[in-house]
């Protein structure tokens, strides 16, 4: 089958459009994330706990905000016919939406993840062994975002998107409980050095596999769509 080439220029324009509309969202979440890192890095146990909760909330909130604003809102605000009337194919629209969303989410996510690792590594009294645990949770949040992105893009429905948010959050809670109670991972968390236990590596690889699968499924289902407005 002859698959036409993607119009890279058009895809780039759409990505820049979404970036432009979400620029203040990124700044706001980065600022809230910076506050979370400050709490993580200073004060006592209470401050560390509050920082952790705030960081998780900021990253989950960022994902929800971005997916709802760039995908679901495009339908509810009726701007989708405007976008789809531009010289682009549905495949280019899907590509642009996925790349724009990944960019808008990953910039703050990456910055705050690196910040988290730096705080853990730099703060006395917090074992560096927490870094693999934190990485597992951060990547899980990213996977949860990819699930929301996939559901929002394929369904373009607020109801389905909310369902994905609820499922993602419940799964995250269960995942956090499972990881923190896993003997090998829990043992490594208390160590002064960073040690990637086999279960942690397996879980991390599993998370990345889920992310790739979700993004692949999004393209698969989008390619079969026949109605775009």
């Amino acid at each position: 089958m002859n698959i036409p080439r993607l119009n890279g220029k058009m895809v780039k324009r759409l990505i820049l459009k979404d970036w432009y509309f979400q620029r203040w969202t990124i700044v706001a979440y980065l600022a809230a994330g910076a506050l979370a890192l400050f709490l993580l890095g200073t004060g006592g146990e209470g401050s560390f706990f509050a920082g952790s909760i705030l960081l998780i909330t900021v990253l989950i909130g960022l994902g929800i905000h971005v997916a709802m604003a760039t995908i679901v809102q495009e339908r509810t605000d009726q701007t989708l016919p405007f976008v789809m009337s531009l010289p682009l194919s549905p495949r280019e629209y899907t590509t642009a939406k996925i790349l724009a969303n990944l960019l808008i989410f990953l910039v703050p996510w990456l910055a705050l993840s690196l910040g988290t690792f730096a705080v853990i590594a730099g703060r006395a009294g917090v074992p560096d062994g927490l870094i693999p645990f934190a990485a597992l949770l951060l990547v899980e949040i990213f996977a949860g975002y990819c699930l929301l992105l996939a559901v929002a893009l394929v369904s373009e429905s607020q109801g389905w998107a909310i369902g994905a948010i609820i499922f993602g959050n419940l799964f995250f809670q269960a995942f956090m409980y499972y990881v923190s109670h896993h003997p090998a991972i829990a043992a490594a968390m208390k160590e002064d050095g960073i040690r990637w236990s086999q279960p942690a590596v397996t879980l991390l690889l599993g998370e990345f596999a889920v992310i790739v699968l979700l993004l692949g499924l999004t393209f698969f289902f989008q390619a079969r769509k026949t109605d775009f407005v």
């Binding site: 009337s85 109605d227 775009f228």
Partner: protein, 298 residues
């Protein structure tokens, strides 16, 4: 061979409670077609299929020589689309939208865009959320017209506009149509708007095209004949009578194939022809749809 800007051949799309069925539509290049139908008749579905926004279940669609929906990206480069339910980004200004469209279309004409801004009395620096409905429609039209598309597809652009805004929009369209190479497909429930700018008319009802012809032919062939029929007089059955209402001695016949010989035939039968009324496009549309529906029900 006629150069067709739009060609639908046996196009259909089925939903649970509605089906667009066996649509055949030909729009020659340089023509302005008014596409008239009631709410839910299938106008928007047809135009969305034309734009590749919906994919037909069956049949073939060609737009400016491109197969739809497969070649929609190339086709949409030369097609301007404005629909009543299309919105711009409310958080952005019109200037941002103009820059955005300009960055996509090489054909963007800045001077024409400026003149449209003045003509439509729009301010480029104003955010979309601060515009009235009429201003938003004009902004959307500006974005489309200033890139000078070969084909304009307008899905009920005048719906919800006040009379002044409607005239401004129609005026701008008429100006654009001075370019003979531009083709327009204009859907509306408002037959008056369509009558002003169209040279071809197509009626759609319940997912089917019920009639399509050039405007003058439509207006020429449809008439309402008022007769006084004395008792005992039997009117001859003439071809082309699509509706009849009889009350006492008066009969009103509607025909879609009027011929002066018709009046003579009624006179010969003993009836008095009181009047042969020219019908408006709206009357023609309503009579056409009613006769088709009655025909389907019978």
């Amino acid at each position: 061979m006629t150069d067709l800007a739009v060609h639908f051949e046996g196009v259909g799309k089925t939903y649970r409670h509605f089906a667009l069925d066996d649509i055949h539509l030909e729009l020659p290049t340089g023509s302005i077609m008014g596409f008239i139908g009631a709410n839910g008749a299938g106008k928007s579905t047809t135009l969305r299929i034309l734009m590749g926004l919906l994919h037909q279940d069956r049949g073939a669609v060609r737009v400016l020589g491109y197969d739809m929906p497969a070649q929609q990206a190339a086709a949409k480069r030369e097609v301007g689309f404005v629909s009543e339910d299309m919105r711009l980004y409310k958080a952005a200004t019109l200037a941002w939208h103009m820059a955005f469209i300009r960055s996509i279309y090489a054909s963007w004409d800045p001077a024409y865009a400026e003149s449209l801004l003045r003509r439509f009395d729009l301010k480029a620096g104003q955010k979309i959320k601060g515009l009235s409905h009429g201003q938003r429609v004009k902004a959307a039209l500006l974005l489309v017209l200033a890139r000078r598309p070969r084909l304009l597809v307008l899905d009920e652009p005048t719906t919800g506009l006040d009379p002044v805004a409607r005239q401004e929009v129609l005026g701008a369209l008429m100006e654009v149509l001075a370019d003979e190479r531009r083709t327009v497909l204009f859907s509306s429930q408002n037959t008056l708007d369509v009558e002003q700018i169209s040279d071809l008319i197509t009626f759609i009802d319940r997912g089917r095209i019920v009639d399509s012809d050039d405007k003058e032919t439509f207006l020429d062939r449809w008439r309402r004949v008022r007769l006084e029929v004395p008792p005992g007089v039997v009117l001859p059955e003439l071809p082309g009578i699509v509706g009849a209402s009889v009350g006492g001695r008066l009969a009103v016949l509607t025909t879609d194939r009027f011929d002066p010989a018709m009046a003579a035939a009624y006179r010969e039968a003993g009836a008095t022809v009181q009047a042969v009324d020219i019908m408006t496009l709206e009357e023609i549309f309503v009579a056409n749809v009613q006769s088709r529906r009655e025909g389907q029900a019978a």
